[in-house]
């Protein structure tokens, strides 16, 4: 048994059948009168009858209640969502009722159809479902198209019904191991950051005179033995949580999109460097929140979309929701980082800037550094990323080298000011790169052969 052929297009515009019948009826009528032929006039009868049928069977004004619902509206990438549409006819019976849900772009239908053609008697209700899947992003659903025809398809009524809804597909969160950050300011709560103050902790900080209430097991007996009367105790460095502000660069000018492959319908698929930045942002915000820090997010590009600083799992969901909606865009006012709202980040806190970097960025970043912020830059390597899509020839080889030199100089310029820059080639795991850069021993130690 052969499968039912699918319509070539999901939505076919209504056929102009009425126009054709009217044209033929008029043409035969005029011709019959012009040549005074009763036989030709007789031929108009079938057409006039068809028009009369359209007159009698014309669909009534539809009175419908339409509701769209989702099985879930906030999901991980690749998860299948069932969309249900419920239609209730509160008006006259409809011989032929066609409804089509307009999908947001980039959402893929996995199962079912986004349209339904049915007969809808008075007071009846009908429901249909289809399943969709999408990559990271927000998918707003707006209007639903409806059309009512008579049985012969001559007269139709069509319109749009508002049924607003939205699906959020959050970015995948990769678990990272803790990375060292050293903001100048910390909070009161215990966390992983050494606070440069003595107290209870793990790392030795100082030796001081014993005070009443200090634990006896922390008394430093060697130093105490050298003194006659006083007791001395070890003091450890306090470890605290801090404020971390993550800035995701969503400027169109710093983004890069390369073709990935062609799908069977010959529609080119592309992958964007920004997607890697989003994944890094999700992983880092998850890491900092797990460590107990207060984390805020600023998506800087098309606008300035801020998620105010907060703690814990709720904040994590807030950030992931903001990342689901993050898109690159052009905004002339925000082409440079000059309008970065620094007040959004508490003073002397840690800023993590995730950006492929542009040549105009260093002055603003060094200004932030001068204002007391500690800056860590995670920079997806746009040069290597773009080189994947270019043909291998003499010209591209030299262009690649020049671009690489330019980028290296830009990074070195930032590093000279004391900004930590992680140059991330996106085909390698972020965790490996972070460990290579952030857990590396200082240069002086490396010269002496300590560390690596």
């Amino acid at each position: 048994m052969s499968e039912r052929p699918k319509p070539k297009t999901r939505h076919r515009p209504p056929e102009r059948r009425l126009l054709l019948v009217v044209f033929l009826a008029y043409a035969l009528f005029v011709l019959g009168l012009a040549v005074r032929s009763g036989e030709i006039l007789l031929l108009t009868i079938p057409f006039i009858l068809v028009l009369s049928a359209a007159f009698f069977y014309a669909p009534a004004v539809p009175n419908l209640q339409i509701k769209r619902s989702f099985s879930e509206d906030y999901v991980s990438p690749g998860k299948i969502i069932t969309v249900s549409i419920l239609i209730q006819n509160q008006g006259e019976s409809l011989d032929e009722f066609y409804i089509e849900d307009r999908l947001p772009p980039k959402l893929e239908v996995i199962e079912g159809e986004t349209f339904l053609l049915t007969r809808l008697p008075k007071g009846d209700r009908v429901e249909f479902h289809y399943q969709v899947r999408g990559d990271r992003g927000s998918y707003p659903f707006e209007k639903i198209h409806i059309r009512c025809n008579d049985a012969l398809g001559l007269v139709n009524r069509q319109g749009w019904v508002n049924a607003v809804g939205q699906i959020f597909v959050k970015p995948a969160v990769r678990k990272l191991r803790s990375i060292p950050i050293r903001p100048l300011n910390t909070h009161l709560f215990t966390g992983p950051i050494p606070a440069h103050r003595g107290g209870s902790g793990l790392n030795f900080f100082e030796v001081r005179e014993y005070n009443l209430g200090d634990p006896l097991r922390q008394i430093n007996w060697k130093i105490t033995a050298r003194h006659d009367d006083d007791l001395y105790t070890n003091h450890f460095e306090l470890e605290r949580v801090a404020d971390v502000g993550i800035i995701l660069d969503a400027r169109q000018q710093t983004d890069m999109t390369i073709p990935l492959k062609n799908d069977p319908d010959n529609q080119p698929l592309a992958i964007s460097l920004f997607e890697h930045s989003v994944l890094a942002t999700a992983a880092l915000s998850d890491l900092f929140l797990r460590d107990g820090h207060r984390v805020g997010l600023l998506v800087y590009g098309r606008g300035q979309h801020a998620t105010f600083p907060g703690y814990g799992k709720i904040q994590r969901e807030r950030i992931l929701r903001a990342l689901a909606q993050a898109r690159t865009g052009d905004n002339m006012a925000l082409e440079s980082l000059s309008y970065l709202p620094t007040r959004f980040f508490p003073s002397r806190s840690q800023i993590v800037f995730i950006s492929p970097l542009s040549p105009a960025d260093p002055p603003i970043l060094t200004q932030l550094l001068a204002n007391g912020y500690r800056i860590l830059i995670i920079s997806p390597d746009s040069v290597s990323f773009e080189a994947q899509s270019l043909p291998e020839n003499f010209d591209t080889l030299y262009a690649f080298r020049l671009a690489r030199i330019e980028r290296t100089l830009l990074i070195r310029r930032l590093q000279r000011f004391g900004i930590t820059v992680v140059d991330w080639q996106v085909d390698q795991p972020l965790e490996t790169i972070l460990r290579n850069v952030l857990f590396r021993a200082p240069q002086e130690f490396r010269k002496l052969g300590i560390g690596f």
Partner: protein, 161 residues
């Protein structure tokens, strides 16, 4: 069903032409019939409409050649039926539910059946009345026809809004 209607309309025209010795015309009409039948399998809306116009022109040509009108009238009816069934087939592509498909087919057949029965009855009545068209009747019929059609089209367009 559409193919049956096309075959009937084509056969009538072919036989008419063949019996009057117009072999080339008969072959040409046969070819057109084959094209329409094959087009039906591809669900081409524009081909159905084009063929309806073409068959109407062929019937007008046969009347011009003084061939009997009643077969031509039934050719028009068959072409209209084929045009309607073509539309039904295209609609049925949108649904796989057997219940809904059955309802559509039933509804369509019922309404088409009523329509074409009335059309057939009117044809027979018109054939037996055999009235002579003079200028006065022509003007009267013309005025009434144009007014009626205009009203009908106006109403239908208003319905579409």
């Amino acid at each position: 069903m559409a193919q049956v209607c096309i075959a009937f309309a084509t056969l009538v025209l072919v036989v008419q032409a063949w019996l009057l010795g117009q072999r080339m015309e008969a072959l040409l009409i046969f070819g057109v019939g084959i094209v329409w039948t094959l087009g039906c399998l591809r669900s081409l809306a524009w081909l159905d409409s084009l063929m309806l116009v073409l068959y109407t022109l062929l019937v007008i040509f046969s009347i011009y050649m003084n061939r009997p009108v009643l077969p031509g009238y039934f050719v028009i009816l068959s072409a209209l039926a084929a045009w309607n069934f073509g539309y039904l087939n295209r609609r049925l592509e949108y649904t796989s539910d057997p219940g809904i498909r059955r309802q559509f087919v039933y509804n369509h057949l019922r309404r088409s059946g009523i329509l074409f029965t009335i059309a057939g009855a009117l044809a027979v009545i018109g054939y037996f009345i055999q009235f002579q068209l003079n200028l006065g009747i022509a003007i009267l019929v013309g005025a009434l026809g144009i007014f009626g059609l205009s009203q009908l089209v106006g109403f239908l367009l208003k319905q579409k809004e």
